[in-house]
Symmetry: C2
Subunit: 508 residues, 2 copies
């Protein structure tokens, strides 16, 4: 016998109220502890509940209870995230009950206890996570458990496949669809907009979907957003690619591998990004986006995410192994990760560097230009529009000739119009305490500094570097500027800078 | 140079408002996104903030932002947990700024990446967790990381010591202070109130602090609370023990190993309780409570927490090894964990069983009585008030003679007066689908059923068993009753029961 809980409880409806409550992604529902639904259902504070609207749409949420008259007993106050997910109007009657137990959590517990999981188990976890049924506690447990005991190749494949299947999957008329991705860890390494512009200018199809920052001060989507719209839907993205051959949009907006964005939010809080999750994250997005050929940039440096050539090569092999399982051709490029790329670190500051390179500004950071040409060259070669060994040269020509800049402008126009990245209201320099040669730049601490200044949430915040490894500096000369948009964040970042003199090392 | 952020930002005060927001333990602050503090400090939704009152008291909290007039721009709305932690009055000016980065989180990240941690690292983690500086995401990551790669003995010792030092530590005039603890996993195994009554009646000092449920339908503190006050402070606890020789209070209320309660809340959500955390949890409480001798009950059964004798003996050795490091004498008893103990499962239902045993009610569950005497006997022996091998017999005499019941009543009177455990408003039987002999009882599923009915949050909710292993039942006879206090939870539990016919197995 099955008991139909919805009929059995006869829970009366309660009416939706939009609270204007900003909670990022978190679905929160506020109800009076003395309301009839809480009483009838035995709901308590922080219970997980499932909410159904009259059109049958459902969403999971965390319940907070209120014992005060700012919420009426017949009201269900919804956070903005939940309001948008349910798509209801004010006063709509809602049905609210305990969320049923999630079978997939027993898989998470098995992994927490050190057991490996089947493909079916990963499917259950990913489907529930993508549908918003996991609390942050459950997400943190899953992500941590798959780091402390690293995922093996079978598990990474299973996770990747489940992540692809949980969202939409694109298909393109072109036989060859190229993509590029940087595994991260190097502040300012914002080559993607330049690479897409070059590749598309050379006739390749490059429908680029990017993430927002995980643990860094800026993701490509964060930077691109300061120059054009990035939250295009699938139809909008198709239109841009059909018209211009390439785009740079936020992956989330087109529902590719939606679980990835759920995982990334929690990884960002934890400041972790481990190999198995990294590979599944990168490849699930590429496979879902319909890519056939991918160039992977793996920066290696003492303070980059990948610290040694051996680790870089191991990661390259792991990426290639999983990619091959899905019929994806990859080329991994181990690049110099000893110091930040370009001058700006933070969404708008990096956008200014990108624009300078595309515009052939003589003051543009040459390291960013060289890296972009190297990666674009690899894309041209695996994409079959440049002979082996000739890609980088061809990329440089397309950039120098202005075709890349013209293409970038066209892409931005198609993405709602080219925007001018903003400038922070507050800037403060960090001065060299003594003269000498710059011998070390700590990527992690520079990134931390930019984040404390407000990046990536504050688009114009971050760090602008004035020196590179090997430069000679005078005592009292500025080595970098901190950019912030609030006095609190500026003070906060400067405090960190003054407590961490090893941000940069200068040898007399 | 150090920048004084508080002076530098000049953040103006904002006034405390009590919102009547129930969020369990979670410290939540609500502020208008357009208020001057959010603007000046660059605060965003879900930022971690530190809040200072005029008396210098500080608390960490998660910020949610409001874009609606139910909160005024000059108000800081506090959840009940935060209100109580700060101890402010309505309208008190508060200073709010970004929480500084926690150094101890880099230790958590190291463990997430599979590295072992030093004693100093555990101290940092435990101190921050106990002070409420960790979000649930960070707590989940730490607990999971110390499960997927289990803690080694040095780590368990370091964690235990840090947990003891993070709270108060009791000292008692008696040279011998006994304690008992069950590692859990067996529904209804509520021997503690009986053991304390017997031990104290025999003149031993037994200042018992108990936890609330972690993953079970009831903890001893939950059950005891239906019979007396358990949230005594240290002074109150001392008074009870000086007067009666024993007490049964909630450990949290006396601030013993406060980090343990923080960890347990998240373990409960995750439904995990791994060996290293279990040992540190148990022993930190015992050491902080000033115990010198501890009896540990380890139920072993196919569906108990410990499933085999080998696992039970390994856990016993691990517990004894860590206990010895702290000069604590332990006796581990592997007990029968094949089926629930007594009849009731859930706080009030278990209390009724405890009272029946103490009152020598002829219908009292005899298995609970025997187990209580076995454990009390071990306490009497290691406590030096019964010769080896004679403890259980002496315990039985003290129980049968009514001295234990008299002592229990005296303890409850000292703890604010004996209460009568309540009874659920709704009961529904589960009927045998066919006749035969009961061959298996699934502890985990029975516990799940009691939790779905509302236990331990709803004190009167749970399960009452009518059968034990080996009993003959007729088709259509009730095998158990589900007790609930709301139609939703009753429907929910019955639905689970009907979908899980293997709760009990009956062989024809």
């Amino acid at each position: 016998m099955t008991v139909d809980t919805s009929a059995d409880t006869g829970a009366p409806a309660i009416r939706a109220r939009r609270m204007g409550l900003l909670s990022q992604h978190e679905a929160i529902i506020l109800m009076r502890s003395d309301c009839h639904v809480c009483r009838a259902e035995g709901l308590y504070a922080r219970a997980q509940v499932v909410i159904s609207g009259p059109d049958g749409r459902q969403a999971y949420a965390t319940l907070y209870q209120v014992e005060d008259d700012w919420l009426a007993p017949g009201e269900a106050g919804l956070s903005e995230a939940l309001w948008n997910r349910l798509g209801v109007a004010a006063g709509t009657p809602l049905h609210i009950r305990h969320a049923p137990p999630l079978e997939s959590l027993s898989s998470v517990r098995r992994r927490v206890h050190g057991q490996r999981l089947s493909a079916e188990a990963y499917r259950g976890i990913v489907d529930d996570a993508a549908a918003g049924r996991y609390t942050d506690i459950h997400l943190a447990a899953f992500l941590t458990a798959s780091s402390a005991l690293p995922l093996d190749q079978d598990e990474v494949i299973a996770l990747t496949e489940a992540m692809v299947d949980a969202g939409d999957r694109l298909a393109w008329p072109a036989g060859i669809v190229v993509d590029k991705h940087c595994v991260g860890g190097l502040p300012g390494n914002r080559t993607t907009p330049i690479v897409v512009a070059i590749a598309a200018a050379c006739g390749l199809t490059m429908p680029k979907t990017s993430s927002r920052a995980i643990t860094s001060p800026a993701g490509t989507a964060d930077t691109m957003e300061t120059m054009a719209l990035v939250d295009l839907d699938l139809k909008g993205m198709r239109r841009v690619v059909e018209q211009e051959g390439g785009c740079i949009v936020w992956g989330k907006a087109v529902n590719l591998s939606p679980a990835d964005d759920v995982f990334i939010r929690v990884e960002r809080v934890l400041d972790i990004d481990t190999e198995g999750q990294l590979i599944a994250s990168v490849l699930s997005k590429k496979i879902a986006a319909g890519s056939s050929h991918v160039v992977l940039d793996i920066p290696v440096g003492a303070t980059a995410k990948v610290r040694t050539d051996e680790a870089g090569e191991a990661l390259a092999r792991a990426l290639e192994g999983v990619a091959a399982h899905f019929g994806l051709t990859t080329r991994c490029i181990l690049s110099d990760g000893a110091q930040p790329v370009g001058r700006g670190i933070g969404p708008a500051l990096e956008a200014h560097d990108v624009l300078a390179v595309l515009q052939n500004d003589p003051n543009a950071p040459q390291d960013l230009r060289r890296r972009a040409c190297l990666l674009a060259g690899a894309a041209l070669e695996i994409g079959g529009v440049a002979p082996a060994g000739e890609g980088a040269r061809k990329a440089e020509q397309v950039l120098a000739g202005g075709q890349a800049w013209a293409k970038f402008q066209a892409i931005c126009r198609a993405q709602g119009g080219l925007r001018t990245p903003g400038v922070a209201s507050q800037r403060r320099p960090l001065l060299a305490t003594h003269g000498g040669r710059v011998t070390h730049i700590n990527n992690r601490k520079i990134a931390r500094l930019a984040k404390l200044a407000g990046a990536p949430d504050v688009k114009v915040a971050g760090v602008r570097m004035f020196v590179r490894l090997g430069d000679e500096v005078q005592a009292g000369a500025p080595v970098l500027d901190v950019h912030a948009d609030s006095p609190g964040e500026m003070a906060y970042a400067m405090d960190y800078a003054h407590h961490n003199p090893d941000l940069l090392e200068i040898e007399a």
